[in-house]
């Protein structure tokens, strides 16, 4: 079984649109949406949810108001500003560390598992899909990402499917780290801008740090061919395979509005290039 993870460093480069097209092009695959904080893949793949499960990501402190004497010791020890002036816990800031539980002279505080989100096993016309929704401001997206990757792997094994295609989230932080560890191939989607170039370097460093193979594609390349060339040069100098230049194409937005992958939305220049890119990625994965 192989896993392809698509990330970008910078947001808005077109990861999800590309992954949606890959969903339509691949065979024997399972789709995974690891952008659990702001999932969008379902908007184009239109999953039918078969199972949904609660996700408990961490803990939060609960103060028993009957026992609380408002002494304020919890507020003193809390390093996350999670106790307000009325000595009430602010769940958005509580990290579930238990310092307040320890210090409370009345033993009025306890830690409880906190319901942080949900994950889903779904079906789409292209492949089964595992996705999730993390509650607002919830911590531990890394665990949820690992969880759904694990479930997707199990599902693939059960159904004799041998490819996982994973949509990552922007940035280089914990949800991204959790998406890429152990992957067979990372596809980095870059936009040809100074910002995109800057972020490429950070995300490429991340893949090196975690020792995963990465390939690069530039999306909307015609916006700035100069920088596209710089990206290609950077790849050459840093042991990253540069795979494709996808042109800017209004078909991408039109397809999204129609809730279809670009490659299923009629002919377009970008659809042709995406198909070529997928072929190349597939060949590298199966080497």
């Amino acid at each position: 079984m192989k896993e392809l993870v698509v990330i970008s460093g910078k947001g808005g480069t077109g990861k999800t649109s590309l992954v949606a097209s890959f969903a339509a092009l691949a065979k024997d695959h399972v789709m995974v949406d690891c952008d659990v904080g702001a999932a969008d893949l379902h908007l184009v793949l239109n999953p039918e949810i078969l199972e949904s499960h609660d996700y408990y990501g961490g803990k939060e402190a609960i103060i028993d108001q009957d026992l609380c004497t408002k002494c304020g010791k919890c507020k003193e020890v809390c390093r996350f500003n999670a106790v307000d002036d009325d000595m009430m816990i602010r769940p958005l800031f509580c990290e579930g560390c238990g310092a307040c539980v320890f210090i409370c002279p009345e033993k009025a505080i306890r830690l409880e598992d906190s319901l942080s989100g949900e994950w889903f096993l779904s079906d789409t016309i292209y492949a089964p899909m595992v996705h999730a929704r993390l509650g607002i401001a919830e911590d531990n997206s890394g665990l949820l990402v690992s969880l759904i990757r694990g479930k997707a792997r199990e599902l693939a094994k059960e159904q004799g499917r041998n490819l996982l295609i994973t949509d990552g989230s922007p940035g280089i932080g914990c949800p991204v780290i959790a998406s890429i560890t152990g992957a067979d191939l990372i596809l980095i989607v870059v936009e040809p801008t100074l910002s995109g170039m800057h972020d490429l370097k950070r995300v490429a460093d991340l893949t090196k740090y975690f020792d995963v193979d990465a390939v690069v594609t530039v999306n909307k390349y015609d916006l700035n061919e100069d920088i596209t060339n710089q990206v290609e040069e950077y790849c050459r100098q840093n042991d990253l395979q540069f795979l494709a230049r996808l042109p800017y194409d209004e078909a991408v937005v039109r397809a999204q509005i129609a809730r279809k992958p670009v490659v299923s939305f009629g002919e377009s220049k970008v659809a042709t290039e995406i198909k070529k890119l997928y072929n190349d990625v597939s060949n590298i994965l199966n080497k």
Binding site: N140, G142, L143, C174, G182, F210
Partner: protein
């Protein structure tokens, strides 16, 4: 000597669970007495982080001097290493077959973690 094996079951026919930190259970096999006990690891499945460390603690507290598992990450590796517990990797097998392989010196000892840290 006791060895710990990460597993999904409770009998000698049970299969190896390749994960260490988030293995479902550990079977602690006493090689001298040929008896075993099962330790549940379920509480670590939901840990947001540090499952490898907690599983390492569990194994250390069980008295096992070696672990047979599929993979270990860096934290699990250092936790077990701190108390001189050897790690052996296996791809698959039942508890019984792994115990036999261990006795016959057929398993490879780990010289480092083989997986990155992860959640």
């Amino acid at each position: 000597m006791k060895i710990a094996i990460s597993t999904s079951g409770t009998t000698l026919d049970a299969e190896l669970d390749k994960r260490f930190g988030r293995a479902e259970k550990f079977i602690i096999y006493d090689l001298d007495a040929d008896t075993f006990e099962v330790i549940d690891n379920a509480q670590n499945l939901n840990l947001s982080q540090g499952a490898g460390i907690q599983a390492g603690k569990t194994v250390a507290n069980s008295g096992a001097k070696a672990v047979i598992t599929g993979h270990v990450g860096p934290k699990a590796y250092s936790t077990l290493g701190a108390v001189d517990i050897d790690i052996y990797f296996a791809e698959s097998g039942t508890i019984q077959s792994l115990v036999d392989d261990f006795k016959a010196n057929k398993l490879t000892k780990a010289t480092g973690p083989d997986k990155d840290g992860h959640w």
